[in-house]
Symmetry: C2
């Protein structure tokens, strides 16, 4: 995962999401693990979606590119 | 995806991530599609991780719970 992506998804959001899903407590390492997973997934989907947009002759990434990228995971 | 989770991951971050991955332009619907996908994934991993923590007799979600939840996707 690139350094730039790392700054985009806040670590604190991971704890809030886990708490809202029902977690009583969340370890610091669990927050970091969740953040890393999310970043990897988002980066993979992004790269695939961009490839699909290019394949369709577009410079704009559209929702159908994202949806195809998710399906192909 | 719950309403609470929806407020935790900023829509603008999706565009920044896609741009940093190399997208020239990103449609509004693509941003929303990406956000929805990320939210669904995070919510699913969270719920599974919480279940694994409970199964291990813990009230604290640890990184091994997150890792197992990701593996089991």
């Amino acid at each position: 995962v690139s350094d730039s992506t790392k700054r985009l998804i806040p670590l604190a959001a991971m704890e809030r999401i886990l708490k809202q899903a029902g977690a009583e407590r969340v370890s610091d390492k669990a927050k970091t693990a969740m953040k890393e997973v999310v970043e990897e997934i988002v980066e993979k989907i992004s790269k695939d979606a961009i490839r699909y947009a290019e394949h369709a002759g577009r410079k704009t990434v559209k929702s159908e590119d994202i949806k195809l990228a998710v399906k192909q995971r």
